[in-house]
C-alpha cells in the first residue's frame, strides 16, 4: 500500500429505511426490512430526494445510488473539498443495471413498435449509468465506471476504488453499489434456478435455509487519501485497509464446496491490510441463506482464519434486508464499518436450528458488543457472486 485509504462518508438506502443510520440501528435492534418475502425499499420515494427530471431520466437503481451517494458525499463534505475535481473518481457496482427499464421497454417494443421505445432507454438501462449519473451530479471528473460481478459487484467497486486512491490515480473516490431488480423477470428467473427462498424467509446458516430473499437498495462510501482528508479537516470514520479478490473457476453459480476461492480472497484481504486473524473483531458474512453458500462460506472462514474463525462474531446483514445482489457488497461494507464504529455485532436474524458443520458464532441471540480489548476494531466483509467472483474488504474503525 502506498497511501492509506480513509472512509469519510457513508450512505445507504435499504429495506430498513433511507439512510445509513436506519440500517445499523434497526438491524442491531433485530428488526427486519423483509415483508412478504421481499426486501423492498418501501420508505424510499424517489421524488423526495431527486428532481422530477432525474427521476424520469434514470432507472430506479440509479435513483437509489444517487440518494445513497448524496448522503455519503454530504457527510464527507466532498462537494466543498478543496480537491481538483479531475482527481475524484466514481465507481459503482450493480448486478444487472436498469432491469425494470429493460423489461418495460421490451413490452413497449412488442406492443407498439420501435418508434414507441423511449430515447432514454439506453442511458437508463446500462449498468454503468449509476456511476455516470453520480459523476454528473457531483462533478466527479476522474475515473468513472461500473463494476459488474453479480453479488460481489459492490465489494469490487469499493475495493477497486480503494486501489485508485492508494495508487494515486484518484485523491478521492465515490464508490458503492446499487440494485433494483425486484422485477417480474428477475423474480421468475431466480426462482426457477432455485436460488430464492420458496418460504420467503432469510435465515442464513440455519438448517432450514432454503434460498435467498430478493432485496433492493444502494450503499455508497467516500474513500480518500487519509493524509489529504486530515489536512482538509474531514472527519475520518474509518479506513479501508485491505482488499482481496479471486475467482473460483469452478461453476457459474455453485460455489466451490471447500470454499477455496473465498478463503484465498479472505487471506489476500488480510495480507493486504497487514492484519492477522487474531486481530479481527467481526466478520460480516456474505450469508445468503442458500444451502450452498452458507456451507462453503463457513468452510472458507475456517480455512482462512483457522481456530480464530470459531471465536469471531459472524453475522449476515441479509437476514434483515435480504440479498441486494450488486448492492449487497457495498451496503454490507457500510454495515460493517458501522458495526466496528459502534463496537456492536448486529445479529443474524431468524436463526433457530443449527446445521451440521455450520458451527461458527453466527450471533444468533441479538446484537452483541464486540470484544476489542482497547485495540482498533477491525473486521472483514465477504462478498461472493455468481460467476465465481469473491471479493473481501478489510476495514478498521477510526478511534
Amino acid at each position: 500500500m502506498t497511501r492509506r485509504v480513509a472512509i469519510t462518508g457513508i450512505g445507504a438506502v435499504t429495506p430498513l429505511g433511507v439512510g445509513a443510520e436506519a440500517l445499523h440501528e434497526r438491524w442491531a435492534a433485530g428488526e427486519s426490512g423483509i415483508d412478504d418475502g421481499l426486501g423492498r425499499c418501501s420508505d424510499f420515494e424517489p421524488t423526495d430526494h431527486l428532481t422530477r427530471r432525474q427521476v424520469r431520466r434514470t432507472d430506479r437503481f440509479t435513483h437509489l445510488a444517487l440518494t445513497a451517494a448524496a448522503e455519503a458525499i454530504s457527510q464527507a463534505d466532498l462537494d466543498e473539498a478543496p480537491y481538483d475535481r479531475t482527481e475524484i473518481g466514481s465507481v459503482m457496482g450493480t448486478g444487472i443495471g436498469g432491469l425494470s427499464t429493460i423489461e418495460s421497454e421490451h413490452i413497449t417494443l412488442r406492443e407498439k413498435g420501435q418508434r414507441a421505445v423511449s430515447p432514454h432507454c439506453v442511458p437508463q438501462m446500462m449498468a454503468n449509468s449509476a456511476a455516470g449519473a453520480l459523476a454528473i451530479e457531483h462533478d466527479l471528473k476522474g475515473q468513472c465506471f461500473g463494476t459488474v460481478s453479480a453479488c460481489a459487484a459492490g465489494a469490487h467497486a469499493v475495493g477497486t476504488a480503494a486501489r485508485l486512491v492508494e495508487h494515486g490515480d484518484a485523491i478521492a473516490c465515490v464508490a458503492g453499489g446499487s440494485e433494483a431488480a425486484i422485477t417480474e423477470l428477475a423474480m421468475a428467473a431466480f426462482a426457477e434456478m432455485g436460488a430464492t427462498s420458496p418460504t420467503g424467509i432469510s435465515r442464513p446458516f440455519d438448517k432450514r435455509r432454503d434460498g435467498f430473499v430478493m432485496g433492493e437498495g444502494a450503499g455508497v462510501m467516500v474513500l480518500e487519501d487519509a493524509e489529504t482528508a486530515e489536512l482538509r479537516g474531514a472527519e475520518i470514520l474509518g479506513y479501508l485497509d485491505g482488499y482481496g479478490a479471486t475467482a473460483d473457476a469452478h461453476h457459474m453459480t455453485a460455489p466451490e464446496p471447500s470454499g477455496d476461492g473465498a478463503a484465498r480472497a479472505i487471506r489476500k484481504a488480510l495480507a493486504d491490510a497487514g492484519v492477522e486473524p487474531g486481530q479481527l473483531a467481526y466478520v460480516n458474512a456474505h450469508g445468503t441463506s442458500t444451502p450452498l453458500n452458507d456451507r462453503s462460506e463457513t468452510e472458507a472462514l475456517k480455512a482462512a482464519l483457522g481456530e480464530q474463525a470459531a471465536k469471531l462474531p459472524t453475522s449476515s446483514t441479509k437476514s434483515a434486508i435480504g440479498h441486494l445482489l450488486g448492492a449487497a457488497g457495498a451496503v454490507e461494507a457500510v454495515a460493517t464499518l458501522q458495526a466496528l464504529r459502534a463496537k456492536t455485532a448486529p445479529p443474524t436474524l431468524n436463526y433457530e436450528e443449527p446445521d451440521e458443520g455450520l458451527d461458527l458464532d453466527y450471533v444468533t441471540d441479538g446484537a452483541r458488543p464486540l470484544d476489542v480489548n482497547g485495540h482498533p476494531a477491525i473486521g472483514i466483509s465477504n462478498s461472493f457472486g455468481f460467476g465465481g467472483h469473491n471479493a473481501v474488504l478489510c476495514m478498521e474503525a477510526a478511534t
Binding site: 428532481t51 422530477r52 427530471r53 432525474q54 427521476v55 424520469r56 431520466r57 418508434r115 414507441a116 423511449s118 430515447p119 432514454h120 442511458p123
Partner: protein, 81 residues
C-alpha cells in the same frame, strides 16, 4: 379525426415538457428548448409524442428546424392543413 387547434397543440407540448421535468412556470410559447433543460433525447421523445398524438410523421430534419414551443405549434398546424 378532427384537427387540433393551435391552443390545444400548445397545451399538449407544454404538458409534455413539464412531464419531462421542466417547471411549468418556465415554459412559455417563446421558450427556446436550449434555454430550458431539454436535451436531444427529450426532443426525440417530443417528436414521438407529436407523431402519436397527431398522426403525422416527424423526421430528424423536421426537428432540426424546431427551436421553440411555438415552432412545434406552427409545424403541427402546417402538417395538419
Amino acid at each position: 379525426m378532427t384537427t387540433a387547434t393551435k391552443d390545444q397543440v400548445q397545451e399538449r407540448v407544454i404538458s409534455a415538457l413539464v412531464e419531462f421535468g421542466e417547471e411549468p412556470e418556465n415554459v412559455t410559447p417563446d421558450s427556446r428548448f436550449e434555454d430550458l433543460d431539454i436535451d436531444s433525447l427529450d426532443l426525440v421523445e417530443l417528436a414521438q409524442v407529436i407523431e402519436d398524438e397527431y398522426k403525422i410523421e416527424v423526421t430528424d430534419a423536421d426537428m432540426d428546424k424546431i427551436a421553440t414551443v411555438q415552432d412545434v405549434v406552427d409545424f403541427v398546424a402546417e402538417r395538419q392543413s
